[in-house]
């Protein structure tokens, strides 16, 4: 079957089998290999993408389900070649080591950023608990997300 959706702001039409997973189609058909498969059953979060702004596990979603929806992958987070706030905070706080889990954390972190709410560290840990990282011990990831989310929210509060 043919599906049409929007991926990272671009309209995309792609031929898929009904049982093909979104993760595989993004990686294999569309060449978006930034999302990673760490478990293929919804536990690790490395395959997280945004669908209409909400995080979803692409290893659990069928490609056919995204017809007519907007998908954002890690490749779509930087705007005009400029890293977004979460990505920049990840560099500053050394929030990644091997980087395999990182796309999932960035997507989840960007989702939190877009919610525009102030979050304390416990809330951030809770919000990130669906993403596994084996290298960092999470501390610098929480630091990075905290900085990105709260800077943004602080700015928003000032503007109001």
């Amino acid at each position: 079957m043919e599906i049409t959706c929007e991926v990272n702001g671009q309209p995309v039409t792609v031929e898929v089998e009904p049982h093909w997973l979104l993760a595989d189609v993004l990686r294999n058909q569309l060449g978006l290999t930034g999302l990673h498969l760490g478990c293929e059953y919804g536990v690790c979060g490395a395959c997280t993408v945004l669908m209409d702004g909400e995080p979803v596990r692409s290893c659990l979603s069928f490609a056919s389900q995204v017809a007519g929806h907007q998908i954002t992958t890690v490749e779509g987070l930087a705007v005009d070649g400029k890293l977004n706030r979460v990505q920049t905070a990840f560099i500053n706080h050394h929030a990644l080591q091997c980087g395999f889990c990182t796309p999932g954390f960035l997507v989840t972190g960007t989702y939190l950023l877009q919610q525009g709410k102030l979050l304390n560290r416990e809330e951030i840990r809770e919000a990130l608990s669906g993403n596994l990282c084996r290298c960092t011990g999470y501390q610098q990831i929480v630091d990075a997300v905290e900085e990105a989310v709260n800077q943004q929210s602080a700015n928003a509060v000032e503007c109001e």
């Binding site: 536990v43 990282c133 011990g137 610098q140």
Partner: protein, 771 residues
């Protein structure tokens, strides 16, 4: 102050990683991202039995399935690991006649894609005649119920060591206690699973192997030896690696089969493990028993330790590093830890079983030995009724005793053992803890504090990754003045492209962003041991310093000649060379490089053309000890048995730091793994020999909410090696489990609990409280 000293020093600075941008934008290329036209994929048919005879294999239906290109069994690919090494048993890369653990590869299917390969794997019928599995270490030692390998004893490694005088000292001590410490199987669980891709290069006829490994030259050598090919016909390229932790230091059966298939089919072939396969077949670790007897005096001074160490090595020694031997033999030598315990006796049995081979997982012996050693100290403290910190003080090696030869003959270079403990106790507020603890207990809150003072042997001449005691660097100042350096290391997230660039930039006098570090390609990198055993910083970094310094000398010589000054007067920095005190008598490194490559008549006599060289560094001492102290504060809920880690302090001494940001990342990550080791992670076999924890729903990894905010502090006791660097990749996981379970023991002191197993689960705790 000279101008030289005013240059920014990259070593020791919190330099941001050059690796990050590609990883943050989805541009990094991991193994599964490698795809070339016509690439075939592999699925393995694996043994469902822990032990069985293979009576027949029917591959007809699989061969006939559309899209299948090859079905491979041992007869087709008769390669055996360990064919000419120490152990009597070789592991066939595909089972031969008998299967010896669940998950052992039996048949490989090569097909157009993974879906087809996996479907065809279902069509293979293997006829098995089950055998009684060997599952218990004690019984295995007694060859019970049978031998795992008919022609080899189940005990594949045995060793005994006794300090002179032990026999007199042990019985003479005032007190004795006994304990059996047990660690359960765990495994590294890199977030990126294992994988290999191989493609014949049509132009040269050579084989290019993409390997998710820590040790590029080692795997090249292994493949060459096992397949009988000349080494120079194989090029190993290591793409981005999503974590290693020792587990990716092995050469696995699947690696050999994939390369063999690519060779036979003259096609690119790839295999990537799924998570179930990972938990079944990535090397396991930590399946050890320590039966310990301790002799000590009234004041808590420990006189002697007797330890019977046993490790279940699984069905085969993992190739080329048996984790069972590594875990026990090193544990037996570092068991006294930071304490001046004068006498030790150790006896080691490593046994075969019908379980997955035991290999390396970060820290290898360390998390086990620290857990035993710190468990001993806490038991002694409780036995003599003194504070655990006090008993540690009494036994601690003093600064004036370095270099210190421990009871097992290991020589420690200087460290900050006592100081690290005092700092850590200060940071966590140990002074006031006991009062707080008493108050809280009145309210029914069981809070405990656990101390773990560790030593970490690093920069070892041989480790799971490197069979060589040195590292090499090829360095080139390009004609444009930029620097390229290639290493034989195999980083898996440690940021070597940044840290090695920092070291070289300082030496050559350029900015860190002008240095490009290459690694993981055996065609460009000089021969090296790879990454593992905390050797990349001290040995790889040492080689970077030596290479940088030799290049600096070349540049100085050239600049002195061209600027008509004495070599001693030449300064280098910021991409410039100048005459000291006369900053306008200067040339850029770019100008120097241009001359070195193109206007070669201007080079001084005797100096080689160009700016390229290879440097090697082998530390004089075969090992250097990092050290530190972890202190954990936990609450134990006595109704649910749940443990919450509240506070965590690490005081770490790894000599001179290259990049504190990266060192701290290693510490935080290791402590999180320590929380997994202490409370969550356990590979469990049932009584039939089936692994019951084959998904991340059963094998639990720490999540963000399981890990507390940690506080770290660095102490610096430089090593005698290049740059004063000591390794530090493993220490955090060595120290953490002991601190955590000691905290649980402390919290449950009113119930007389002393934790003697890793991990300790909520269920264990509930049972102890009821008992």
């Amino acid at each position: 102050m000279t101008e030289q000293a005013m240059r920014p020093q990259f070593m020791g600075a919190r330099v941001k990683r050059v690796e990050d941008p590609r990883l943050l934008t989805g541009q990094a290329r991991f193994l599964d991202d490698i795809d070339v036209p016509g690439m075939l994929e592999v699925a393995f048919v694996r043994s469902p039995y822990p032990a069985a005879r293979i009576m027949g294999i029917d591959t007809k239906a699989a061969k006939a399935a559309p899209g299948v290109r090859a079905v491979i069994a041992f007869e087709d690919c008769p390669v055996v690991l360990w064919q000419k090494d120490a152990y009597e048993v070789g592991q066939p890369v595909l089972a031969h006649g008998e299967v010896r653990y669940v998950g052992e590869p039996v048949v490989a299917i090569v097909a157009e894609n993974r879906y087809v390969a996996e479907d065809a794997a279902e069509l293979v019928t293997v006829h098995y005649e089950p055998l009684e599995p060997v599952l218990d270490m004690y019984r295995s030692i007694a060859e019970n119920p049978r031998r795992v390998h008919e022609n080899a004893s189940n005990v594949f490694f045995y060793k005994k060591y006794t300090t002179k005088g032990f026999d007199e000292a042990f019985p003479a001590a005032a007190h004795h206690l006994q304990e059996t410490f047990r660690t359960t199987r765990q495994t590294a669980v890199t977030l990126e699973p294992r994988g290999t891709a191989a493609m014949p290069d049509p132009a040269s006829g050579r084989m290019t192997v993409y390997a998710s490994t820590q040790s590029p030259h080692r795997i090249r050598g292994d493949l060459a030896e096992l397949l009988g090919w000349p080494e120079n016909q194989i090029r190993v390229i290591v793409p981005e690696v999503g974590g290693g932790f020792g587990m990716k230091a092995n050469t696995y059966p699947e690696d050999v089969v994939v390369v063999w298939a690519a060779h036979q089919l003259r096609k690119p072939v790839k295999w990537v493990s799924d998570r179930t396969e990972s938990l079944l077949t990535d090397v396991h670790a930590r399946d050890d028993i320590h039966e310990v007897e301790v002799a000590f005096e009234d004041d808590g001074r420990i006189i002697a330790i007797k330890d019977h160490l046993m490790a279940d090595g699984g069905a085969y020694p993992a190739y080329p590093f048996s984790g069972a031997v590594g875990e026990t033999s090193l544990a037996s030598r570092v068991l006294p830890g930071p304490y001046q315990i004068p006498y030790i006796e150790t006896e080691i049995h490593c046994t075969y079983s019908n379980k997955t081979p035991l290999g390396a997982y970060r820290g290898v012996w360390g998390p086990i030995a620290s857990f035993v050693q710190e468990g001993i100290v806490d038991r002694v403290a409780r036995a003599v009724g003194r504070d655990p910190a006090e008993v540690r003080r009494i036994n601690m090696i003093r600064p004036d005793q370095f270099p210190f030869r421990n009871a097992a003959g290991m020589v420690y270079d200087p460290g900050s053992y006592g100081e690290s403990m005092e700092e850590a106790l200060g940071l966590i507020g140990y002074d006031t803890f006991r009062t707080r603890q008493t108050e809280l207990r009145k309210e029914g809150i069981y809070r405990g504090i656990g101390i773990s003072v560790f030593v970490e042997p690093t920069a070892m001449a041989s480790s799971e990754a490197g069979s060589v005691g040195y590292e090499s660097v090829f360095i080139r100042v390009e004609p444009t003045g930029k620097v390229t350096a290639a290493f034989g290391l195999g980083p898996t997230g440690q940021g070597h492209e940044t840290t090695m660039a920092q070291l070289i930039a300082d030496q050559v006098g350029v900015n860190v962003e002008d240095v490009v570090i290459l690694h993981g390609d055996t065609d460009s990198a000089p021969f090296g041991g790879g990454t593992g055993g905390s050797r990349s910083g001290p040995i790889g970094g040492g080689a970077a310093l030596v290479a940088g310094r030799e290049m600096r000398q070349r540049l100085v010589k050239l600049a002195a000649h061209l600027l008509e000054a004495a070599e001693e007067d030449i300064e280098l920095g910021n991409g410039q060379a100048w005459v000291a005190g006369v900053p306008d008598r200067a040339m850029t490194i770019q100008q120097l490089a241009e001359i070195a490559y193109t206007h070669v008549k201007r080079i001084p006599a005797g100096m080689p053309i160009g700016l390229e060289l290879v440097a090697r560094y082998q530390p004089e001492r075969s090992v250097s000890f990092s050290n530190g102290t972890h202190v954990a504060e936990v609450d134990v809920d006595i109704r649910t048995g749940m443990v919450q880690v509240l506070n965590y302090v690490v005081v770490n001494d790894c000599g001179r730091l290259i990049n504190p940001l990266i060192v701290e990342g290693q510490i935080y990550g290791g402590v999180a793994q320590g929380i997994g080791s202490a409370f969550l992670e356990s590979l469990r076999y049932d009584e039939d020999g089936q692994l019951t924890t084959t998904s991340l729903m059963d094998y639990l990894l720490p999540e963000a909410t399981d890990v507390p905010r940690m506080m770290t502090k660095h102490l610096v006791t430089p090593s005698a090696g290049e740059g004063g660097i000591k390794g530090m990749g493993e220490g955090s996981l060595i120290g953490a489990p002991a601190a955590l379970v000691n905290a649980v023991s402390d919290a449950l002191e009113p119930f007389g609990v002393m934790v003697n197993r890793l991990p300790v689960t909520a269920e264990d705790i509930r049972q102890w409280i009821l008992a």
